[in-house]
Structure formats: structure tokens, C-alpha cells
């Protein structure tokens, strides 16, 4: 595998430091089905999903982050036409995070059909 070493990248008009790309790219992401037969639809740098209970999941990474001080962006919907559910995510360790699905009206935990999360941070 070859490596391109460059301080900046440009589209011919706008130039930005390469660190914007390397530091700004998601280091892991996952899209999974949290209902019925739980399964990961697609992902990057995830090794497994753990179903802990209703609306409660752990995502474990293959290549860990430097610490548990990373950022997670999560989203979900139960119905692509009329989404009414949410999920939240938070780091657990440098290699795993927790995703919780819940109702928007009473905040009780529930399984989510479409759940996704993206992790930004520094790789170990």
C-alpha cells in the first residue's frame, strides 16, 4: 500500500490542510436494525453489536480510539415515512460505545428499526 504525503489538498480553487481530512473523517460508523432479528446493515471499523435489552445496544470497534474522549453522532427512525423515535449514543471505552433508543413522547426505551452512529476522534 502506497502513501501520498501532502500538507494540503485542493480542488483547484479551494485548498485546505490535509489534517482537516485525516482528523475530520469518521473513524467508525454503523447502521443497524434494532428490531426483530438484530443485525448490522453496514459499517466501518465495527467488530460487533451487542444487544443488551430493549433499545439498548453496544457497538464495539475493531481498531480502538486513543481514549474514550471521542465524539459520536447518532440518529434513528422507526418509520421512514413518519419517524417518531430517537436514539442517543455515548462512549463507554476507547473501543466501544452505547446506543439507546427511546420514544420521543415518554422517553421509554424501545427498539429502533433504523439506528446509526458515526464516531470522530483519534485512532490509537
Amino acid at each position: 500500500m502506497s502513501t501520498i504525503v501532502a500538507a494540503n489538498v485542493s480542488d483547484g480553487t479551494v485548498s485546505i490542510p490535509t489534517t482537516y481530512v485525516t482528523n475530520g473523517s469518521a473513524k467508525a460508523w454503523v447502521n443497524f436494525n434494532g428490531e426483530g432479528t438484530i443485525a448490522i446493515r453496514q459499517s466501518l471499523n465495527a467488530s460487533s453489536l451487542t444487544d443488551n435489552g430493549t433499545g439498548n445496544y453496544n457497538v464495539t470497534l475493531s481498531s480502538a480510539l486513543q481514549s474514550d474522549e471521542y465524539s459520536i453522532v447518532s440518529g434513528s427512525t422507526d418509520n421512514l415515512t413518519n419517524g417518531s423515535d430517537m436514539c442517543t449514543a455515548a462512549p463507554l471505552t476507547s473501543s466501544s460505545c452505547r446506543v439507546i433508543g427511546f420514544y420521543t413522547d415518554n422517553a421509554g426505551a424501545r427498539d429502533i428499526l433504523y439506528s446509526c452512529a458515526a464516531i470522530h476522534g483519534d485512532l490509537a
Binding site: M1, K27, V30, E35, G36, T37, I38, A39, I40, Q42, S43, L44, N45, A46, S47, S48, L49, T50, D51, N52, G53, T54, T60, S62, S63, A64, Q66, S67, D68, E69, S94, S96, D111, L123, A124
Partner: protein
């Protein structure tokens, strides 16, 4: 040695994801009131495990458990291992993603970890928070 993340990203572009036919059902002895958990392998990870030349030795993950955050970890730059069978990959994943308190240190007399076909995991999750590992044995004494 290329970083593990680079190998995984390259493998994702090259390998077709493989949905595993196994799930791992387990209970955490430190949380006796919690329902049983189900470990679901990632399809891209499973493809990388079966292909070989991508994942590091499982021992590197086990040693990295004791490495504090911010310190260099061994698994990203370790020499990758060869291809595995799906069954070997599941055993690898158990050691990597489940606490040793479940698969190594438990000394009780209940069965708290089972590898099962995905068909044996109920799809009806109405009573999900009451799930337990089935203690029925397959053979009489």
C-alpha cells in the same frame, strides 16, 4: 506495518460482507438481574476474519485491555493473522468483545454463554428484558 484501520478500510472496498449464522448469548455475572445479551458479529469484520491477513492476533487485544488510554496500543500495528473459519472467528470475537469475567473467570455452575444459530434467537422481542440463557442440557446424564 500498515495500521489496522487502513487494512479494514481497504478490505471493506474489496470483500463482500458476510452475515454470520451464529449469535453469542451470554449473561454478565456482575449484573445478575440484567437480561441476557446477544453478541451480533459485524458482516465486514466477519469477511475480514475469513479472508485473513487483516485482523491482529487476539492476544494483542487481550494485552491492550491493560494499557491505559493515551498509551500506545499493540493491536493496530501487530502482524495480521491468516484466515479463520467462521467458528474460529466467533471464538475470536468472544475473547475480544465480551468481558473475560464471562468467558474466562466465571466459576459458577450456571451456563452463562452459548453460541447458537441465529434462528434460535427469538425475533419477537415483546419480553426482551426477561431473556435468560436456557439452562436445559441436550443430553441426560
Amino acid at each position: 506495518m500498515t495500521h489496522l484501520w487502513d487494512r479494514l478500510a481497504e478490505a471493506k472496498s474489496r470483500l463482500k460482507p458476510i452475515q454470520s449464522k451464529y449469535r453469542v448469548l451470554f449473561e454478565d455475572p456482575s449484573q445478575p438481574d440484567a437480561p441476557a445479551a446477544v453478541l451480533v458479529p459485524d458482516p465486514n469484520w466477519m469477511a475480514a476474519a475469513l479472508a485473513g491477513g487483516i485482523l491482529p492476533p487476539i492476544e494483542t487485544y487481550l494485552r491492550d485491555r491493560d494499557v491505559p488510554d493515551g498509551q500506545p496500543k499493540e493491536h493496530p500495528y501487530a502482524e495480521p493473522i491468516g484466515p479463520m473459519t467462521e467458528e474460529q472467528a466467533i471464538e475470536y470475537l468472544i475473547q475480544k468483545d465480551i468481558s473475560p469475567a464471562v468467558w474466562r473467570d466465571y466459576a459458577g455452575n450456571r451456563c452463562i454463554l452459548r453460541i447458537v444459530p441465529v434462528e434460535l434467537i427469538p425475533s419477537d422481542r415483546s419480553f426482551r428484558n426477561a431473556w435468560r440463557v436456557n439452562q436445559d442440557t441436550e443430553m441426560a446424564a
